[in-house]
Symmetry: C2
């Protein structure tokens, strides 16, 4: 099962937690100056360090089609930059441990673990376990003073980036997110959109991560992020309560209409999906939407992204065909959820 198909802690506010370690091999130049032969050697070495005996499989992304790569981006398993590469590169994955190692991205190795909800410790442990396996087999560039050497100086030191995907509809609706964004640098965080730098915060989803990787320990980074993300989560939950107290009718109407549209529309584009997703997800948090869980909804969002959607049909789809296919998946899934509620005879409450 992929990360988004499983339960996780604090999913009312946290969609996922990702830990990423940047590592490079001493015997090879950094990626921009790396030869094709060198890249292939690194892939082979990584495969030998993270073998099938440890539950890893290797996917040659040079041979993968664009849609397959975009679908991996939509699932947050690889970066958009990695998907655009046309020199040798690979993804070494262990779905059970939720560990995904990009080989020959900006750094030779980018060890990632992504977990549902807020789970930085588990994610960190899994990433470090993979790191140890790599360290045991390969010669990793490390300097006593600078720490792990990386292509970009902003990753020097621990090479560690912890990021959390947070769902912040109440802070977004009230505009309070702006003042939080203004104070992020003080608490050592940066914010990004759903799929990386520069993209907008669709679906009220915000990705926060640590800025500083050097001069601090892994534990300090983790504890700082835990504290900062925790205070944003408290602000979001508090604001949701206030919204419900002050605008219950309007909120309930908005959420129920979004449910209705998901269950009924014949065509839905990605932009509308993000809006509906945010309204319904808030509805789950407020106890308005029964019969659908965070996990189901988060999985639906990913299943309905363009490339993932296309991959389920095994052929190219036009934009209109995608909008119809997306709406059909949403209708079927959301009605099934509603039907299950009716079947379990919870008829008294609004579903």
């Amino acid at each position: 099962m992929l990360w988004y198909e499983t339960e996780g802690p604090e999913r009312d506010v946290f969609v996922s937690t990702r830990v990423r370690l940047a590592r490079n091999l001493v015997d090879y130049p950094f990626e921009p100056r790396l030869s094709e032969a060198g890249a292939k050697e690194i892939i082979e070495k990584a495969k030998s360090a993270l073998g099938e005996d440890q539950g890893y499989t290797c996917r040659d992304l040079s041979a993968a089609g664009d849609n397959e790569k975009l679908a991996l981006v939509e699932k947050h398993l690889i970066s958009p930059e990695f998907a655009r590469k046309n020199t040798p590169c690979a993804l070494i994955e262990n779905e059970e441990k939720q560990v995904y190692v990009m080989v020959c991205e900006e750094d030779h190795l980018r060890i990632q673990c992504i977990r549902p909800g807020f789970d930085p410790k588990e994610a960190m442990d899994a990433a470090l376990e993979a790191d140890a396996a790599i360290d045991a087999h390969l010669h990793i560039a490390f300097d006593e003073k600078l720490g792990y050497l990386t292509h970009c100086p902003t990753n020097l030191g621990t090479g560690l980036r912890i990021s959390v995907m947070m769902f912040l509809p109440a802070l977004t609706m009230t505009g309070r997110i702006k003042s939080i964004q203004g104070q992020l640098s003080k608490i050592g965080l940066t914010v990004r959109g759903t799929t990386g730098e520069g993209s907008a915060a669709k679906g009220c989803l915000y990705q926060f991560s640590n800025c500083v990787t050097q001069g601090v320990t892994e534990e300090e980074i983790l504890s700082n992020l835990r504290e900062a993300a925790g205070s944003i989560a408290r602000a979001e939950r508090e604001t949701r309560k206030q919204l419900l107290e002050n605008n219950e009718d309007a909120l309930r109407d908005r959420v129920m209409r979004a449910m209705g549209t998901m269950r009924s529309a014949y065509m839905i584009d990605t932009e509308e999906l993000y809006r509906l997703y945010a309204d319904v997800r808030l509805g789950i948090a407020l106890g308005i939407c029964e019969g659908v869980s965070y996990t189901q909804l988060d999985a639906l969002l990913i299943r309905c992204m363009p490339a993932t959607l296309t991959s389920q049909f095994g052929k190219d789809l036009s934009s209109t065909q995608r909008d119809k296919a997306r709406a059909e998946i949403l209708r079927t899934s959301m009605r099934q959820a509603a039907q299950e509620v009716i079947n379990s005879e919870k008829k008294g409450r609004i579903v």
Copy 2:
């Protein structure tokens, strides 16, 4: 059962047919000069002519509250002008025959029959039957040359007005309704909104009626209206076919979203209800909406009008309370309809 709760012919285009006969008693002045005592006498005389033995009951509207009177307007049983009267007036009704006689409206007696769908002959026969009963008991003002004498000269002669409430979404969407409206006088029709002169065509509903009452026979009026309404109906049906051929995806999406909103929203105001009604009613005609009939939908529209809604709750409702109550009725009714389709295992088709 009221007219809108029963089936009728050609309901894809026709909501209802109404026949109205204007009659006055010789021994009394016209309504503006009628004394209170005179009005009371006329009511008593009308009651004696249309007695309980013939299935009629008399409702004293002077004693009725505003909400009760507005609810009668919403059901198209009395005119808005009649509801605003504060001198003695009454409604003599026979629900089985769908005959409603307004006593002391603009004329002393306005005999009306309203039937679902396109049914002018049946409506005419029922109105004439009541007219004969009145004629047998009362002295009605009739001039050999002018015909029936009425307060307003535009009703002189037959005193007959036949009107049909038509549902014309395709002609509305394509704007063709305008050219039809421009040619109406040529075919002897006038057009009004849903509840009378001056109101807008909400819900794509248009009320057409004959302009001329004098110098023609009842049969000529009926046959002319039948022909004119028939040609508008043909234009509407033809345009629906074209719309479906050229815009099937967009139409299907629009209709299904309207169904979803009716099944899901928490608050719906009257204006939105008219929009949703028009989309869903068109959906029934196009075979997109299963599980709901014209009769159910037309009855829902009336049940959800402000005064009728209020009368179901037996107390005054605020505007917000009405919007919630309206949405609840729509949710419950439309979900029940959908559930019945699921239960009858027609799961393959979109409901």
